[in-house]
Amino acid sequence: MIRLAGKSNMKLLKLDPVVFLVSATILFAILLVSPVCALFVMSLKSSEGIWQHLIDTVLLKYILNTVTLMGGVALLSLMIAIIPAWLISNYYFPFCRTLDWILILPAACPAYLVAYAYTDVLEYAGVVQKLIRYLFDFSSPDQYYFPEVRSIWGAIFVMSFVLYPYIYVLARTAFRAAPASLYETAILYKKSIFVNVGLPLARPAIFAGLALVCMEVVSDFGTVEYFSLETLTLGIFNVWIGMNSITSAAQLSVVTFIFIITLLLVEIKSRAASKYYDTSRGQSSPLAKRIYGKAATAAVLICFLPPLLGFFIPICILISNSLYAFQYEPFTNFFRPFLNTIFVSATCALFVVLLSFLLVSSSKESRSNWINWLVGLSSTGYAFPGTMLAIGVVIAVGYTDQLISYLNSIAGIFPDDFYLGGTYAALLFAYIVRFQAIGFGAVSSGMQKIAPNLLSVSRCLGKSYVGTTRNVTLPLLMPYLLAGGLLVFVDTMKELPMTLLLRPFNFETLATQAYQYAHSELMAEASIPAILIILSGLIPVIFLNNFLRKA
C-alpha cells in the first residue's frame, strides 16, 4: 500500500491518521447503531400469540399495501426525477436555470401536510368536486366518478411528488459530473447517451436517492394515518397501542426493517460488479445542447409539472387556508418555534455531514469488510418508523443515564441531576441516528466517483493522507457534502414523531406546532407554521443550488 512507502510500520501505527479515523468510526458507529440494537433486543421477548392473530387476520393486507405503496412511489418518483434531471443537465431551453432550482422545492414540504392540502381540495366536499357538481348539476356521489383522494393511489401521488427531489438532487449532480468524453464516444458509436452513458454513470446516485425514498415511504406515519391506509407502519401502532404490546410492535418494525435492508443489499450486490470512477476532472462537462420550439416547450412542461404538483399547488392551498388565521394569530407565537427549528436543523445537518465524511472515508481507507458493515449498519436508523426509532433512542439514552448516575454514585463526575434524557442533546442524537442515511448516501455516492488513482497520485507526489484529504478528496466531495447537508436540513425541519416524543419540556418546533393544530383540524392555524417550514427550507435550497452550479 502506498501509504506505507518509505516508513516503518511500527511508527505508522501510532501516528497513522487512518488508525485514528477507524477508531473514531467504530466509536461513532456503535453509538449510532445502539438505538437500532435496542429495538432488536426489545423484539426478542415473547409476543404471546399476537403473531398468530396477525397472520390469521391483517398481516397479508399490511404487507400488500406497503409493497404497493413503495413500488408505486418508487416508479413514479424515479420517472418525475430522472427525466427532468437529464433534461436540465444536458439541454439548454427557456427558464431551464429557474426550473433547475424550482424542481428541488417540494423537498421542503412535509408529505402529511401536502396530503391535508390535497384532501381539502379534492375530497367530496372540496372545491373541485363542488365545481363539478355545480357545472354538471349533479347532486350525489353516485352520479359521477371521481378518484378517491384518501386511497393508496392518492398516497402514491402525494408521496412521489414530495419525495422525488431526493433522487433529483443526486441524479442531477451525477449527470453534471459525467465526463463529456464518454458522451462523445457514445455518439460516435451511435449509442443512446442517456441509456448507455448517463444512466449507468448516475446509477449509484440514483439508487442512493431511491433508497431514501423507499425508506421514507415505509417509515411514513402521518400520510398513511390521514388516509387510513393499513400499511405495516399503521399496523405497528395498532399492535402497540391497541394490543398494549410494544414487543410485537418492535417485532413488526424489525420485520419491516429486514425487508428494506434486503432490498438495499440486493441493489448493492448487483452494483458491486461494476465500478464507476470519474477520471475526467479538468475535462469539460458535456455541453448543454440548445433546443427550440416544440421540444423546448415540452421540456419546460415536463420540468414544471413535478414542482407544480409537489410545491406550488399545495402551498397555494395552504396560503389560502392561512389567510383567515393571520387575522387573529399573532406572529410572535411562531417566533420561538421558528428559531428552535432552524437551530436543530442546522446543527443536525452539520453533525451528519461531518459524521458521514468520517464514516465514508474510513470505510474507504480501511478496506476491511467488517468496518464496511458497521458503517452500513450505522445508517439504518432511517428504515424504522420515526416513533419506533424514537423508542430505541429513549431506551439507549435511558441506559446511558443509568450509567451516568452510577458513575456519579462512585465518583461524582457530573453535576447532580445531569441526565441526557429530555435534553436537546438527546433529541439531536435521535435526529442524527435517523438522518445519517441521507448524509451517508450522498457522501458515499460522491466518494465512489473519485478514482482511486487520483488519490494515489497525490500520495506519490508526497502529500500525506491528511493533505490528500484536504486538497483532493474534500474539494471533489464538496458538492455531495452540501447536497447531503441540505437534504438533512430540510428533513430535520419536517421531522415530527421523534421531535414530539424526545423534546425537552416546553420545546416547540414548527412541525410540532403544525401537527398539533392539524390534529385538532384547525387547518387555518396549522397552515402558518407549515408555510414557515416550507419558506425556511427554501433558503438553503437556493443557496445550495447556486453553489452546485458554480462547482
Partner: protein, 339 residues
C-alpha cells in the same frame, strides 16, 4: 471562519442542553394537546403559585417514562383516553396516591381500584344521524347499527382508533366476544365508505349526503356547532345527536375518560397531587365543558347549560378499567372484521 461558525453552533448547543427545569415547577407528560390544557395550567399556577412544564406527544411517553426510571423528571401524566392511561398502570409507572378530594369527588367506576389513576372528564360516544334522512327514534341503541336496513348508510373512522376500540370493548362487556364480533361485522357491512378521517369528518360526510349515520364523540358536536367556520356550523345543524341505549333497563351510553396520575418516581408528589385535585375541582370541571364540551366527572358539578341542552343521558356504569382490559380482545375483533 468555518471553524468559528462550528464553535458558535456547538456553544449554542451547549446552552440548549443546559436548559434545566426549576425545582418549584411540576413536569407534565401529556397526551392531551397543550392548547387544551394551557387554560387549566394557568388557572392552577394562579391559584397555587406552582409553575408547570409540558411535553406533549400522542405516543411513546410511557416508554420514555419507563426507560428514564428513577431519573425521570416527570411528575404528572395526562391522557385523553383510558387505553393510554392503562398502559402506564400496566407498566407500573404510576404512584398509588392518597387523596381525600379525589376519592370523594370521582365516582368509583371512573378511577383505578388501587388509586393510581383518576378520570378527570367524560366524553360519550354518541350516534349522529342526518336530520333530513333519518327520523328521530329510528336508532335507539348502538346495537341497531348492525341492522342490515342501514346498509351503505354508516360512516366511521377506522375501528382501531382508541375511541372505537373502547366502544367495541364496551359491547364485548355487555354481550360477550361472539356477539360483539357479529355486531362489529354487521356495522362494517353497513359502511358507506372505507373507514377514514376523524369524527368531525364523519359529520361532514352526513352533511354532504355521503352517509346518514355516524358514531362520534359528543364534544365534536359542540365544536362544530360553535366553530368559527360557518361551513362547520352548517354540518352540525345537519345532524341529530342521539345518546344510545337509554331505554329503561338498557345499560346506558358508553363513555370514555380523559384522566391522569402521578409518576411513580416523581420528586414532587404533593404538588403533583395538588394538580390532579385542582383538575377535579368544580372550577376546572366547569372549564372542561366550556373549552371542550366534555362532561364533569365530579359528582358535585352539574354539566354546563349547553351540554344539558343536548339532553340528559344515562351512562354505562361499567368500570372503565374493565374497558381497558378488554381492549386487546376488541382490537382482535376489529382486525378480524376489517373495520
Amino acid at each position: 471562519m468555518r471553524l468559528k461558525i462550528c464553535t458558535l453552533i456547538l456553544l449554542l448547543a451547549g446552552l440548549y442542553t443546559t436548559q434545566l427545569v426549576s425545582a418549584s415547577e411540576i413536569n407534565i407528560y401529556s397526551h392531551r394537546q397543550p392548547f387544551l390544557i394551557d387554560p387549566f395550567l394557568k388557572a392552577f399556577t394562579e391559584e397555587t403559585g406552582i409553575g408547570t412544564n409540558v411535553v406533549y406527544s400522542t405516543k411513546g411517553l410511557a416508554q420514555r417514562l419507563r426507560s428514564e426510571g428513577k431519573n425521570s423528571p416527570a411528575d404528572v401524566i395526562l391522557t385523553v383516553d383510558i387505553g393510554r392511561l392503562y398502559i402506564y398502570e400496566d407498566l407500573g409507572l404510576l404512584a398509588e396516591i392518597e387523596s381525600k378530594v379525589l376519592n370523594t369527588t370521582i365516582p368509583k367506576h371512573l378511577k383505578s381500584a388501587n388509586n393510581t389513576w383518576f378520570g378527570l372528564s367524560k366524553r360519550s360516544r354518541i350516534i349522529a344521524t342526518s336530520r333530513k334522512r333519518v327520523s328521530a327514534g329510528q336508532i335507539r341503541r348502538i346495537e341497531d347499527l348492525a341492522d342490515p336496513r342501514w346498509k351503505g348508510k354508516i360512516c366511521s373512522r377506522p375501528g382501531s382508533h382508541v375511541y372505537n376500540r373502547a366502544l367495541v370493548a364496551s359491547v364485548i362487556a355487555a354481550h360477550g366476544l361472539e356477539k360483539a364480533e357479529t355486531w362489529a361485522r354487521g356495522v362494517v357491512s353497513n359502511l358507506a365508505r372505507r373507514p377514514q378521517g376523524n369524527d368531525r369528518a364523519q359529520v361532514k360526510a352526513i352533511y354532504e349526503g355521503l352517509c346518514d349515520i355516524a358514531i362520534i364523540n359528543n364534544y365534536y358536536f359542540g365544536k362544530l356547532k360553535y366553530s368559527e367556520d360557518p361551513a362547520q356550523r352548517e354540518w352540525a345543524a345537519s345532524m341529530r345527536l342521539t345518546f344510545p341505549n337509554q331505554d329503561t333497563g338498557d345499560r346506558g351510553a358508553h363513555v370514555n375518560i380523559s384522566g391522569g396520575g402521578v409518576a411513580k418516581f416523581s420528586k414532587r408528589k404533593p404538588d403533583a397531587i395538588k394538580l390532579l385535585e385542582f383538575l377535579s375541582s368544580p372550577k376546572a370541571q366547569r372549564l372542561y365543558s366550556e373549552i371542550n364540551f366534555e362532561y364533569p366527572v365530579n359528582i358535585q358539578v352539574p354539566p354546563s347549560n349547553e351540554l344539558r341542552s343536548w339532553g340528559n343521558f344515562r351512562e354505562d356504569k361499567i368500570s372503565i378499567e374493565k374497558i381497558a382490559q378488554l381492549s386487546i380482545e376488541a382490537q382482535k375483533i376489529i382486525d378480524k372484521v376489517g373495520w
